[in-house]
């Protein structure tokens, strides 16, 4: 690559780009920059092979390769080029990689180049087709106006918009990469690794505070990486290197480069997305691609810098119009000159650096158009001395060119800057660098609840009064010079550390001397006037990503949108993935002007997370695939798996659902399991049932207050079914409680309610009745439970248990005994959820598998069959036993469920929910009652959730709709014991309607009729249970 290898084009249309050879020497400077020229990298953009260097971003490499157009705009289909050099970039939004690895929605300005990188520009192809259609008919407020229209029209638009609007394509297939999360706690979190942030980190670290320094770039230094400045006697970058070396050597400091702090939440909780392998272009399964850092900080120092404000003028979206700071960054950091003939359009001194740098790089500065009548800062003087032509009190009012800037119209400004003082004239140029001032990056501060305040002197929104322990330092605070940033950063770091308990708030860190150019006052225009009004002039873009123009905002104001938040939603200003980092302030200023008010009173919209888009992968972290949720396993889990169990998720538990054999269907398996339980013996793993050990002198008194029934007089060794009610009288949980000793009980809760029930007991003990002597301990995980059910259950248990008298007389139904089963200490309950003779054998979890195996072996002569939750459901439904949460829905009282027998009114203290049962509504005659349904067609199994209506009468040939709902089906199965379909249901006045025929209209149009019956279908006298 030689500097003189190509003659510079001088025509007024210099950049009909595709003809330019890849890696144009005209674009890449022969020397300089922070790129590694010994490391050439090939990459592909939109199918074209190109090359760049290590240290390049995709954007700098594209510019070096002469790529001008990187996107076509959303609404108008206009060509768009790279505008910025960082997170603010609105146009160069690309998809990386392909297939399952595809990552949509990446800013090319923040993508580090690596060998083999494949990038595709965003939404260009589909838009070409629709651009014409959209351009004229999508005014400001499009969504508002068309949502009002007839629904069919909106559906048509939606289909078109969805195809056109997406920034990127959805990856094809599951994400093969891994992600994880890491929690941090620190005294001082510093966000931003520029001069202010580094100074803050140094000041805090040197007084021994725990510091985390987060920066979104691949190397620390922030704006200094793109500007040739000196700190003390050395280049700024050397000072950075020394500072980072010191910080990384300190054990109290964590450095997080390549990490974007994207969310600032309550109580100083900040999230940052770290890109760990993206820049390597390869992934390793043990190395997460991205990591989500969850940082809780005592103090947060925001040193997030500022984003340059673009100028608003006609055709300002033409490729070749860029931020002045971005031009300087590409030139200095990446040694890329994104053009040849530069026109600088500025309203401040700072941007003169770009013209000076451009000239130093040996390029042509056509002129500077300065909005101010008398710019006189040191940089202006340098430009004058360098012979650069300066047009004072001038504005660029329109960019000219087809595929790229070929020239500009500039014109003198009136005194107030709102009109033109004379006719425009044309300058030839191929690059317009513009600066209308700076917008501090107040996003995180705003997310933390600080209302931004307009600063008239600096003409910028600054962070408002913090509502959390936040300090701001550097450019985000309006400090625009390097010296001010260093001093501000050091002071903020020391103050933050002190507030967190370290040091004395005075920085132990003297900011090194920096030579500063004195700057004159700025005069931002926010919008350059044009010969025509905004509504007639060529489009003056405010938000590039969503194609919002100055005319759109003025239209919104005319249509009555006075609040900035409303105008934002009406025009979609700032709604893109870039969140309007470039355009928001200009938009606010234009709105303020249209409303005839100031910017301060207009205000700015609230920023919300995320600062830049975050991958779903990082949000999910490791909680995917097999680790998606925390699975709970019973002690016999491996046995079930080995015996082919089909699983049912019950809460987090994996429970055997049924055990299909060979080619059995689920129906076959359940019929077999049910028959075994009813005819011989079957066994269920009931370990998941919640179990709470209750001890204390007041245990019985406490349970009397918690349960609707009475437990005071329950004998030791006896069990009782109990209902826990909420204070409003509805059923909260149910289960069997056993009295193990005078002062000790064991409560069973439903599987899904175990934790809630324990919390419920603790709530009342801790807040209302601390005087009662009672303690609770969860023993759910301690016990493995095998429920042995069926006429042969006693015969099986007898073979492995010789120290408990299992006879009906010695061990009656609803009692508990202790002894040994298969040689292991065991607690055996004679309780039954199946309606059969049943022994629930409880042993310690570590004995569970052995005892289960022993019981299976003992049961073999009887054909013992393991059964799962589906069979459990069928057996209990045949008996009319409720399942809380399935047959009840949080509005049912004991009386509704026919469980009035389990309520004891008139206990000394009453019980939770007692008073509410007397409320008028709970005593209404037309409440839903728990009933059974026997379908007229014995084979028709009703779907659970089916609605119940009155049966059609003969008179009405066609039923009228809607028909009043009278209830719904809560449980429904085919009963092998009865060889017919059975259902449980809640039906209005149901208990008064036994024998009546009701009707269930199904979703498919069929109607199933059924007779209302008693919910106990099987062994209503309970002889089998008590056998």
């Amino acid at each position: 690559m030689s500097a003189g290898g190509a003659s510079l084009p001088t025509s007024s249309h210099p950049a009909h780009t595709p003809a330019r050879p890849a890696h144009s020497p005209a674009r890449r400077l022969p020397a300089g920059g922070r790129i590694d020229r010994s490391q050439p990298l090939r990459f592909t953009f939109d199918g074209r092979s190109m090359s760049g260097f290590g240290g390049d971003t995709l954007a700098s490499a594209l510019l070096a390769n002469g790529v001008d157009t990187v996107a076509q705009s959303f609404k108008h289909g206009r060509r768009r080029g790279i505008v910025g050099s960082g997170a603010e970039e609105p146009n160069a939004i690309v998809d990386l990689a392909d297939g399952a690895h595809r990552i949509p929605n990446q800013r090319a300005t923040q993508v580090e180049l690596h060998a083999g990188l494949v990038a595709t520009s965003g939404a260009r192809r589909p838009l070409k087709r629709f651009a014409g259609a959209f351009a004229g008919v999508m005014p400001a407020g499009f969504y508002y106006k068309f949502f009002m229209g007839p629904p069919w029209l909106w559906r048509r638009w939606e289909a078109l918009l969805r195809r056109a609007a997406g920034l990127g394509a959805v990856p094809a297939g599951a994400d093969p990469d891994t992600y994880d999360k890491l929690n941090h706690h620190c005294d001082v979190l510093v966000v931003g690794g520029g001069p202010a942030g580094i100074a803050a980190a140094l000041a805090a670290a040197r007084v021994d505070a725990r510091v985390v320094l987060v920066d979104e770039q691949n190397e620390f230094g922030g704006s200094l990486l793109g500007a040739p400045q000196a700190i003390g006697d050395t280049p700024a970058t050397q000072w950075i290197d020394a500072a980072i070396e010191e910080l990384s050597a300190r054990p109290n400091v964590a450095l997080l480069p390549r990490a974007t702090a994207f969310g600032y939440y309550d109580h100083n909780f900040v999230t940052a997305l770290e890109r760990r392998t993206d820049h390597l272009g390869a992934t390793s399964p043990s190395a997460p691609r991205q990591r989500l850092h969850r940082i809780r900080a005592k103090q947060v120092a925001l040193a997030t810098g500022a984003v340059e404000r673009p100028a608003t003028f006609a055709n300002n979206d033409l490729p070749g119009v860029m931020l002045a700071s971005a031009v300087a960054t590409y030139l200095n950091r990446y040694a890329v000159a994104p053009g040849t003939r530069l026109l600088l359009f500025t309203s401040n001194d700072n941007a003169y650096r770009t013209a000076l740098d451009w000239r130093r790089a040996g390029r042509c500065v056509v002129a500077v158009s300065d909005t101010r009548p008398g710019p006189e800062g040191a940089l202006v003087a340098q430009a004058v001395a360098a012979g650069i032509e300066i047009h004072r009190a001038h504005a660029v009012i329109e960019a000219i060119g087809r595929k790229r800037v070929a020239g500009a119209l500039i014109a003198p400004l009136s005194e107030d800057g709102r009109r033109l003082a004379a006719k425009p004239r044309r300058l030839d140029c191929d690059l317009i660098a513009c600066s209308d001032g700076w917008s501090p990056a107040i996003h995180l501060s705003s997310q933390a609840g600080a209302r931004p305040r307009w600063n008239e002197e600096g003409m910028m929104f600054l962070p408002g009064a913090p509502r959390q322990p936040t300090l701001c330092a550097g450019a985000v605070n309006g400090a625009m010079s390097l010296a001010a940033c260093l001093a501000d950063g050091a002071a903020a770091g020391a103050r933050a550390a002190h507030a967190a308990g370290f040091g004395d708030a005075r920085p132990r860190f003297a900011p090194p001397p920096v030579e500063e150019a004195e700057e004159g006052a700025a005069r931002p225009l926010f919008i350059a006037p044009h010969v025509q009004p905004s509504s007639r002039a060529p489009k003056q873009f405010v938000d590039f990503q969503l194609d919002v123009t100055a005319a759109d905002i003025e239209l919104a104001a005319r249509e009555g949108y006075r609040s900035v938040e409303h105008a934002k939603r009406y025009t979609a200003l700032g709604f893109g993935t870039d969140q309007g980092k470039l355009g928001n302030v200009n938009g606010v200023a234009i709105l303020a002007r249209a409303l005839g008010q100031g910017i301060a009173e207009t205000g700015v919209t609230v920023f919300r997370p995320a600062y830049t888009p975050v991958t779903f992968g990082a949000i999910a972290g490791r909680d995917t695939g097999e680790l998606f949720d925390a699975e709970r396993h019973t002690p016999m889990h491996a046995w079930h798996a080995a015996h082919g169990a089909a699983w049912e998720n019950v809460g987090r538990w994996k429970r055997p659902w049924h055990y299909p054999q060979a080619d059995e269907t689920m129906h076959d398996a359940v019929v077999r399991e049910c028959r075994s339980a009813r005819q011989s013996v079957a066994m269920l793993d009931a370990s998941t049932l919640g179990k709470i050990d209750v001890q204390g002198a007041d245990a019985a008194a406490f349970l009397d207050r918690i349960y609707a029934g009475s437990f005071q007089r329950l004998g030791v060794g006896r069990c009782r079914y109990g209902l826990m009610l909420r204070e409003d009288g509805t059923i909260f949980d149910d289960g069997v409680a056993a009295r193990l000793a005078d002062t000790r009980f064991l409560l069973h809760t439903t599987t899904g309610n175990a934790e809630a029930a324990l919390a419920w007991l603790e709530l009342w003990r801790q807040t209302e009745w601390p005087d009662l002597d009672v303690y609770f301990t969860s023993v759910t995980d301690h016990w493995a439970t095998a429920a042995l059910a069926g006429p042969k259950a006693r015969d099986v248990l007898r073979r492995v248990c010789d120290d408990i008298d299992l006879s009906r007389e010695a061990f009656p139904f609803m009692s508990v005994r202790s002894g040994h089963v298969a040689g292991r200490p065991a607690r055996v309950f004679r309780i039954s959820f199946s309606g059969e003779l049943c022994f629930e054998v409880n042993v310690a979890a570590h004995d569970g598998m052995d005892v289960w195996n022993a019981l299976m072996a003992a049961g073999e002569p009887f054909g013992i069959t393991p059964y799962g939750t589906e069979t459990m459901h069928v057996l209990r439904a045949e008996k009319g036993f409720i399942i809380v949460g399935q047959d009840t829905d949080g509005s049912m009282t004991p009386e509704d469920m026919g469980l009035g027998w389990a309520v004891r009114h008139g206990k000394p203290f009453g019980f939770i929910g007692d008073r509410s049962l007397a409320l008028a509504d709970h005593r209404r005659a037309d409440r839903l009652h728990f009933v059974g349904l026997a379908t007229t067609d014995a084979a028709a199994v009703l779907p659970e959730g089916a609605q119940i209506v009155a049966a059609s009468t003969r008179r009405a040939a066609k039923p009228t709709t809607p028909r009043a709902m009278q209830g719904h089906v809560t449980s429904s199965y085919f009963s092998p014991a009865l060889e017919r379909s059975i259902a449980l249901a809640m039906l209005k006045r149901g208990r008064e309607r036994l024998g009546e025929i009701v009707c269930c209209p199904l979703a498919d149009g069929r109607e199933v009729s059924a007779q209302v019956v008693n919910p106990i279908f099987f062994d209503a006298e309970g002889r089998r249970t008590r056998a």
């Binding site: 809780r296 934790e755 709530l763 008028a920």
Partner: protein, 92 residues
Amino acid sequence: MLEIHCPYCGESRSEEEFSYAGEAHIRRPSDPAGLDDRAWGDYLHFRSNPRGAHRELWFHAAGCRRYLNVLRDTASYQISQTYRVGESPEDV
């Protein structure tokens, strides 16, 4: 994501360890049967729901399993005090 100081553990923990348990200092009437439906309904359903300082009951579910009182501003989410069950907030 709130950070809540548990007065029993003596340290601040992340919100994910806690669960919210409604407004604090709602005493259960000592004689429910003696209340008419309206008075009982007030206890059952009506809460202050203020904008600003709110006395809340939280449960340190994944920690020490204690209920605690939290004085939280419902507008700013700032927590000015946490204190044990049975105690009163210092200055509300």
